[in-house]
């Protein structure tokens, strides 16, 4: 028994970097699935007379996944802490508008616009966090409520696309460095920051603690309410960053940018696809990145095969449920 334990400890130490990166096994599973899917994609593209690894396709996959990826990172933080954020989609719409209207086509206004977007999104996150902690409203209802409130503001203030993004800011959405899109680098930066936050900072440790068991965290001296507010603020800020990216892509703000993209439920789907437990306390950003890439590669294959959107929904639904069923099974047998 002791012998076994020691062996395991040695193994754990050696695999420690990977273990830190993935935090647990489903993250590995999602990368395995991603690798298989890429091979399948390559095969299908080749049979169909296309090139999977063409510049356009690779950049396309990055461009399609960057905004969702950034939102999903924020969503990961909230879910790890045992919450949920359904307000991100409307918040993204709002922030594209805030960004585009303040920029008003002038490059000089970009810093002010970015600051305003971050401030607005942080404020929304703060409100979400306060409703959840102070008013003790379940995150599902709290964020659904703020989503409705933001929607009301959008409906009342905007009739369609508004504002304009200067050419200088569009580099964010369109430029690439070799085969890497700038938007994807932004996503990577957000992901690495979140990874550092979770694995190397006190707040990160406390996020896992609060999501694992709020009462235990509290009794251990963690100020759980502050942690909950912090994750909501961070999640909303991620949504704000995604809003900036979308504004740059779209050249303007639109009141439907977030909802058309379905960023609320899709980001949650990407997070759980990456192996993070919906109940909190287990998982990490590495899995989420894998989950988002999985969805993006799937989309790219759908595009090449010209699958119609209804069949896509069926496949996405099946993939989501099947993946979760497999995780649940692995966890039980492990």
């Amino acid at each position: 028994m002791t012998q076994q334990l020691k062996l395991r400890r040695v193994a754990a130490a050696e695999g420690s970097f990977l273990r830190r990166l993935s935090a647990d096994q489903p993250a590995r599973a999602v990368y395995l699935a991603l690798a298989l899917l890429i091979m399948l994609g390559w095969l299908l593209f080749t049979l169909d007379g296309g090139r999977f690894l063409s510049q356009e396709n690779i950049v396309g996959i990055q461009q399609r996944s960057a905004a969702l990826g950034i939102v999903a990172i924020g969503q990961t933080l909230v879910i790890l802490a045992g919450g949920l954020d359904l307000s991100v989609a409307y918040l993204i719409s709002l922030t594209t508008l805030v960004a585009a209207e303040i920029m008003a086509g002038a490059g000089a206004n970009v810093p002010a616009a970015i600051a305003a977007v971050l401030a607005v999104s942080a404020l929304v996150g703060l409100v979400n966090g306060l409703i959840v902690t102070r008013l003790q409203v379940h995150a599902f209802i709290a964020t659904l409520g703020t989503a409705l409130i933001i929607r009301g503001v959008l409906d009342a203030r905007y009739d369609g696309p508004a504002g304009s993004v200067p050419a200088s800011f569009r580099h964010l959405g369109y430029d690439r460095i070799g085969p890497l899109a700038v938007s994807a680098l932004l996503w990577a930066a957000v992901a690495v920051s979140a990874w550092l936050l979770l694995s190397r900072t006190r707040l990160g440790y406390r996020i896992y603690a609060v999501g694992g068991n709020t009462e235990v965290a509290r009794l251990s001296g963690v100020r759980t309410e502050r942690v909950m507010i912090a994750v909501h603020v961070l999640c909303s800020v991620c949504a704000g960053i995604a809003g900036l990216l979308l504004a740059s892509r779209l050249g303007a703000g639109t009141p439907t940018a977030g909802t058309d993209g379905g960023y609320d439920l899709e980001s949650i789907a990407a997070v759980v696809l990456g192996g993070t437990a919906l109940a909190g306390g287990r998982g990490g950003v590495a899995g989420t990145v894998g989950g988002v890439l999985l969805l993006a590669v799937l989309d790219s294959i759908f595009n090449q095969m010209e699958v119609n959107s209804f069949a896509k929904d069926v496949v996405r639904g099946v993939v989501l449920v099947a993946a979760l069923a497999i995780y649940a099974r692995r966890r039980r047998t492990a």
Binding site: R8, A13, D24, T201, Y205, G212, N213, V216, A217, S220
Partner: protein, 476 residues
């Protein structure tokens, strides 16, 4: 602590309680369930804020708004229930809320080496700081819990029923630990229901009753009987009710060669009218035995008559009931009324019991006061346990399995439960009782089955000594 008062939902839980502890002293706090011990400790730990009264440490008045503030003031607490995160490592749990940082980032290396030192100072070698808590046994987790309290370098350590999850030989380790703490000049506040531990360890004893302090006295000036009288307010003439005079009746359940992933070669007969005690260390398979007999974690091999249940429902159909060890997680429906809790089994197997029957039953299990419309979470642990017993009595099982039936139950309720067990046996039920408390096992059982490593190590007649039980349980 002076004049501490506290109310919950309009109910006065503490009323003007004073308590003091000196450096290097073990000060025991005792009282029945509902006497306010845990609340008092939680106020000291900053979990609850007192409605009135003051707390002074080293003569300085303090007020804690949050557990972290109490920690910083040098108060550490080991809770009755484990407060660990299963998905995190040992080191992460030990330093939860106080992670060491270097240049803004958590210093994992420092954290892990400090945890390693703490563990070896506790003589723990079976696991390390990087292991996930989820993979540890309950006893190992208790060690982590203690390491966590030690890591605070606290000047006051509160232990709220620290031995609840420990087997007797592990309790010995804890004693050593407590003494080591006092040698360092730390004040230990020790809350327990186990009177023997209190007399073993405590220098002074404070007795609480109904939220008020009844007495504080030198341990040497008290004996068990006096202490019980102080706690209960009356003399308990005999600690355990007398055994039945009749010899046991027919065999109700019989197992031959029963085994599964955690059990092997179980041979066991339970007869009508007898109380069979089960002893064994933590992890010896006691709980697993009960769950296998009941069908919750079924036997996969061997014979069992009248039938070998493969599920809970088959177990219930065969006339078997199980009162689980972890009442909060596996026993009660916290937000349901007493009545609905009591009717749960009957409803689950579609057998209805009318209202008068329930009220009679609640009186029979000595629920006091018998208010069937009250939410069960508002009851004391002892009363909750009585409702759980009533739940099984609605379906009149032939065999009742009780896993630690008096854990976390105050002295009065404990006596009531013991009486009820006797009564049930007298009425022809076969009762199996698992307990970590040897006096209880010896006092209540007609014979004692001792478990070790998933098998039955031997059987002892009633009237055996604690030493003989321990010898069987711990032999390797």
């Amino acid at each position: 602590m002076t004049g501490i008062g506290k109310s919950f939902l309009g109910v006065r839980v503490l009323d003007g309680v004073d308590l003091e502890a000196a450096a290097g002293e073990v000060h025991a706090v005792v009282g029945e369930n509902g006497a306010g011990k845990s609340t008092l400790m939680k106020i000291l730990a900053g979990v609850h804020a007192p409605d009135e009264g003051t707390i002074e440490i080293d003569g300085r008045s303090v007020a804690f708004g949050h557990p972290i503030e109490a920690q910083r003031a040098g108060v550490a607490i080991i809770y009755q229930e484990l407060t660990l995160l299963p998905e995190r490592t040992v080191a992460e749990n030990v330093f939860l809320g106080r992670e060491p940082v270097r240049r803004g980032l958590v210093d994992r290396a420092a954290m892990e080496s400090a945890t390693g030192e703490l563990l070896s100072s506790l003589g723990e070698e079976s696991f390390g700081p990087r292991d996930l808590v989820r993979r540890l046994s309950v006893a190992q987790q208790q060690v982590v819990e203690i390491a966590k309290a030690l890591s605070l370098n606290a000047r006051i350590v509160v232990m709220d029923e620290p031995t609840a999850a420990l087997a007797d030989h592990e309790v010995g380790l804890l004693y050593t630990l407590v003494r080591r703490l006092t040698e360092r000049g730390i004040a230990v506040l020790y809350v327990s229901h186990r009177l023997r531990e209190i007399f073993d360890l405590a220098h002074r004893i404070t007795v609480l009753k109904d939220g008020a302090r009844v007495a504080t006295a030198e341990a040497s000036s008290l004996d068990v009987a006096t202490l019980i009288r102080l706690m209960v307010g009356r003399e308990l003439d005999s600690y355990y009710p007398p055994r039945a005079a009749d010899p046991p009746g027919e065999v109700m359940v019989s197992v031959r060669g029963g085994g599964n992933a955690r059990l092997r070669g179980i041979d066991l007969d339970l007869r009508a009218g007898e109380i069979v005690g089960v002893a064994g260390l933590q992890g010896s398979g006691r709980t697993e035995l009960a769950k296998a007999l009941f069908g919750a974690e079924p036997f996969t091999t061997g014979e069992m008559t009248p039938c070998r249940p493969r599920s809970v429902r088959e177990g219930i159909a065969a006339g078997i009931g199980l009162v689980t060890e972890d009442r909060k997680a596996e026993g009660i429906l916290p937000h349901q009324r007493v009545r609905d809790n009591a009717l749960l089994v009957a409803r689950a197997i579609r057998r209805s019991a009318g209202t008068p029957a329930i009220e009679r039953l609640l009186r029979r299990v000595r629920l006091n006061p018998p208010r069937p419309a009250q939410e069960i979470r508002l009851l004391s642990g002892g009363n909750q346990q009585k409702v759980v017993l009533a739940k099984w009595m609605t379906v009149a099982p032939r065999v009742l399995l009780l896993d630690e039936p008096t854990r976390g139950v105050d002295v009065g309720a404990k006596a009531a439960i013991h009486e009820l067990m006797r009564e049930l046996a007298r009425d022809g039920m076969a009762v199996l009782m698992i307990s970590s408390e040897l006096p209880e096992l010896i006092g209540m059982s007609d014979r004692i089955v001792v478990m070790r490593d998933g098998g039955i190590a031997g059987e002892l007649p009633s009237g055996s000594t604690e030493e003989s039980v321990m010898r069987l349980a711990a032999a390797s």
